[in-house]
Assembly symmetry: C2
Homo-oligomer: 188 residues x 2
DNA sequence: TAGATTGTTAATCGATTAACAATC
DNA sequence: TAGATTGTTAATCGATTAACAATC
């Protein structure tokens, strides 16, 4: 009678996350058969399978360029438990270079290429002003970086085999304003 | 012969933004008929209509709670041109209270209710640690705040008539890792 | 008027849901 | 075995695309 702890049915899941049981079963099945008829899904197995799918079983090495307010905030964020490690920090401000943040020393951005040629970096975060973001992206692409996590409010142009994920505060804020207006319209 | 400056067709738009011309026409039409047969869309009219739809023609007054790295970064971000004004900053750290950031003085969070009762605030940004976010959300709801821009990595529980927009760095980072894995799978 | 392009309807496509046979 | 719940197919729904009449 040790139910609900190590197994879960698509129906139970649907009640928790709001997708239909049917859709959950179909979606899971796209990635393989990890359920068991008459039993449901083993939560440990399920967790492992999903982690595999989204790649959370691996460790990711991150470098961050631009240690301003945003860069500092990101650098201090605790991603480590999820396997994301910030290995290197870069800034072109001589006053910041050499400082240590969260146990990582800030390096001059001039040494970006040198560093990347010597270390395996999976993702590079750009938290610089927009004006230099594309320039940095170009340099990263030349270095063979395949994933850019871009906080600068510009659309970076990169080859097809490079992934760019934008974090846009303005987009998010515009979403708020849209939702707020919708809300007001609905109540009028 | 002054084309391409003050008018644009759904076909031209589709080439720029990548949605089909058909879809653009149908979507625009959902919000009203602001094109002209045989001519296209007047770009000034179109801009105004879309701004109206997403509510960008208005000014928004924002208060921000939690002037840490993230809060500081957000406070310094230039949203003003888009009509978003950060009017107030709150923090419970006595050392920060009284300091001025971007022309706005930091107020003790204890005065949150007092401030909100005296000023019209449209959106409140929560850039505090997760531990106090729900508590603050509850207080904001009581004060009648209808839009919360939440940077704390927690799912806030609020009534149906309150909008919450979450900015989740971890979600964004997990998206990067998923895309990166997809990319690798595609090239193998 | 002729040409262009919208607004809008019909056709297609894909995604979601429902149903049920397979099977643990 | 009987009950439960998946994997998977069929039915439904909605969204996208294509087509074209309306009209500027």
């Amino acid at each position: 009678m040790d139910e609900g702890v190590d197994r879960i049915s698509s129906k139970e899941l649907s009640e928790i996350i709001g997708f239909s049981a049917s859709q959950i079963r179909q979606d899971f099945n796209n990635f393989g058969e990890f359920g068991q008829q008459g039993y449901g899904y083993n939560v440990v197995d399920l967790h492992r399978e999903i982690s595999n799918i989204i790649g959370l079983n691996k460790k990711y090495h991150i470098a961050l360029i631009g240690v301003g307010n945003f860069g500092t905030a990101v650098a201090k964020y605790s991603f480590k438990e999820m396997g994301f490690h910030i290995d290197a920090l870069f800034d072109n401000n001589p006053e910041k270079v050499g400082q240590v943040l969260n146990g990582v020393e800030i390096t001059d951005t001039n040494f970006l290429e040198t560093y990347l040629s010597k270390h395996d970096i999976d993702i590079v975060a750009i938290t610089t002003p927009s004006s230099v973001a594309q320039d940095l992206a170009d340099r990263l692409v030349i270095c063979g970086v395949k994933a850019i996590w871009n906080f600068a409010p510009v659309d970076l142009t990169v080859p097809d085999d490079v992934v760019v994920e934008n974090v846009s505060l303005l987009d998010s804020l515009m979403t708020v304003s849209y939702l707020l207006n919708e809300l007001k319209d609905a109540t009028v």
